[in-house]
């Protein structure tokens, strides 16, 4: 299943696409900036992924230019729900700038990461 959602297309573009990867893991591909304006879409899409049966879900951040504390909060909230059933979130393809945010906040170790 795929679903496209757009934030404010003019000022703060963000696109979230749900799909499944070749291993059958649910994937949410995020593009653009995840901030206080686009986090509600991010939260809704990620919640839909977490609501399934999968213990591991993948969030592809390769095309994310920026993520702020509201975006981190969405990821942390989703991770808490997954951990209740021993699940985890895989962060895939983080750019250096995104990884730096995760490093500073110390969240890198809480998530699994893939290049």
């Amino acid at each position: 299943m795929e679903q496209h959602l757009n934030g404010d297309a003019e000022l703060r573009p963000a696109v979230f696409v749900r799909s499944d990867d070749p291993d059958g893991l649910p994937v949410l591909v995020a593009r653009g900036e995840i901030d206080v304006y686009t986090s509600p879409d991010f939260r809704r899409e990620l919640a839909a992924l977490v609501a399934g049966d999968a213990k591991r879900v993948v969030v592809d951040l390769a095309a994310v230019d920026f993520i702020d504390s509201s975006g981190l909060g969405v990821l942390v909230g989703a991770l808490k729900r997954l951990r209740e059933r021993d699940g985890s979130i895989v962060l895939r393809g983080m750019t250096p700038s995104t990884k730096k945010v995760f490093d500073i906040t110390g969240l890198t170790n809480l998530f699994s990461t893939e290049p």
């Binding site: 901030d35 702020d68 110390g106």
Partner: protein, 504 residues
């Protein structure tokens, strides 16, 4: 009864009245036309009777002339009169239905008798015989009888004509009376309709309209009268229910305003408590702190610079994910917990740990970053702990920079521990503690970034903390068009040149 049915009833009554009037007038007009026809037939009948009288007079005159002079010329009017009489009697018989049949039969019988006598006398005369005076006498008496019958017929026709003319006139008068009655009835009907419209529509609408205007002017307690027929009363009921709702909404608005006024006091108090508190430092030290909120009056950031004793200063900076009053309350709580821990002499790392423990579970997506720093103002030695907070900037006297990186993760999501780091603030050096609202300020796709922050501080007078804080916040606001996307906090401490001693 509904207004529609009322008007339907009135209209039906009015139409019925007009229809009855029109029916009566039509019937009278037909009767008048019938009588006019009768009158016309009687006039023709009278004329024919007159012509018949003339025809028999002509015949009788011709007969008598012939009997005296035996001149056949006298028989011409006699014969023409006979033909005329036959035609006229035929015409009279055709005009049947006028009630003169008996009298006409009487005339024709008398005419036949006279005619037989006249024919006998003329035949005798043609034969050259002398006419018998007795026969002449009989003929005269028979002609008188005939004339008498014709006169009777004329009188009868005249009498009936007179009656017919009178009846026609009477019918005409009846038509005029009916027309007048109809006109008067229509006027009366219109007057009744006008009165009913006034009673059913004008008066209720006027009273309801007056009440609605008073409500519009602000008299929300005045009820709108529900009067008049159901349609208008229903409209008034709707208007009155609207008035009641408006009244309730006005009451709610008053309560909301009172609530806002009360909450405003709370928010202002909260903001006052979150305002950066900068304690006294030794002469020469320069310290300043400021916060710019992204939303409303209350930021999710807070900062504090407190003199713990004559040798140490504590710096606290807390950043809650999110902003507004809820984040502000959590920031205030966190600040008080950290301040208490540090005041008890707890190491910064342990202070973070004890604060995290006392805060307990936060919301699913709520977390905070914090930086706690204790500076020895005698030798500039620093002990600090950084919980997922952007690295503090230490600007060296030689232009170099040192970043005081996190010593543990953010507080909130999961249980963690934080170590205490060490650094030194030398003479003529400054330290800048800030929140991510500074370095993550964006313009298009460009970030304000830590490098720009370091360059701006490097360009500033390192002895004027207030000027540095002001410049940084101004630059961030200028960089970000419109409102700040996140709360922005800066604390700057400058150590004067050549004061104190270096740490051993």
């Amino acid at each position: 009864m509904t207004l529609r049915n009322r008007f339907l009833l009135v209209t039906t009554a009015f139409v019925l009245l007009i229809a009855i009037g029109a029916g009566v007038i039509t019937a009278l007009t037909l009767e008048r036309d019938d009588r006019r026809n009768t009158e016309g037939r009687l006039v023709v009948t009278a004329q024919i009777v007159t012509q018949l009288s003339v025809a028999y007079v002509d015949r009788e005159t011709g007969q008598r002339g012939y009997l005296i002079a035996a001149n056949p010329t006298f028989l011409e009017p006699y014969d023409r009169g006979r033909a005329d009489a036959r035609r006229l009697i035929s015409d009279l018989a055709r005009l049947s239905g006028t009630g003169f049949e008996k009298k006409l039969s009487s005339v024709t019988a008398a005419a036949a008798e006279w005619d037989r006598n006249a024919e006998r006398t003329i035949t005798a005369r043609r034969a050259g015989k002398t006419v018998d005076p007795a026969a002449l006498s009989v003929g005269k008496s028979r002609f008188d009888a005939l004339r008498s019958r014709i006169v009777q017929l004329q009188a009868a026709v005249h009498a009936v004509s007179k009656q017919a003319a009178s009846a026609t006139a009477q019918t005409r008068n009846q038509i005029n009376a009916a027309l007048i009655a109809m006109f008067v009835s229509a006027l009366a009907g219109l007057a009744v309709v006008a009165a009913l419209v006034r009673r059913w529509v004008t008066v209720p609408v006027r009273e309801i309209g007056g009440a609605v205007r008073r409500v519009r002017a602000g008299s929300l307690d005045e009820a709108v009268p529900q009067i008049g027929p159901p349609e208008i009363a229903g409209l008034a009921r709707d208007a009155d229910e609207m008035r009641i709702r408006l009244s309730e909404m006005a009451l709610d608005a008053d309560r909301a305003r009172e609530s806002i006024e009360q909450n405003a006091t709370v928010v202002l108090t909260l903001r006052e408590n979150l305002r950066p508190d900068v304690g006294d430092l030794p002469p020469g030290w320069s310290v300043a702190a400021d916060i710019r909120a992204a939303e409303g009056l209350v930021a999710g950031d807070c900062a504090d610079v407190a003199r713990l004793d004559e040798h140490t200063v504590a710096v606290l900076v807390v950043d809650i994910s999110g902003h507004g009053a809820v984040a502000g309350i959590l920031a205030l709580r966190c600040k008080e917990l950290l301040r208490s821990a540090i005041a008890l002499g707890t190491e910064p790392g342990e202070a973070l740990e004890s604060t995290a423990g006392q805060l307990g579970a936060l919301g699913d997506e709520t977390f905070l970053s914090a930086l706690v720093m204790v500076i020895d103002i005698d030798d500039g030695s620093i002990r600090y702990a950084n919980a997922g907070h952007p690295p503090a900037l230490l600007c060296r006297a030689d232009g170099g920079v040192v970043w005081l990186s996190p010593t543990g993760p953010i507080i909130g999501p999961f249980t963690s521990s934080w170590s205490t780091g060490h650094a030194t603030l030398g003479p003529n050096e400054s330290i800048v503690v800030y929140t991510d609202g500074i370095i993550e300020a964006r313009h298009g796709g460009e970030l304000f970034g830590p490098e720009r922050l370091a360059r701006l501080v490097g360009e500033s007078d390192t002895n004027d903390a207030r000027a540095i804080v002001q410049r940084l916040l101004d630059e961030v606001e200028a960089f970000t068009p419109g409102r700040l996307q996140d709360d922005a906090t800066v604390v700057v401490i400058c150590r004067p040149f050549g004061q104190g001693r270096t740490p051993s």
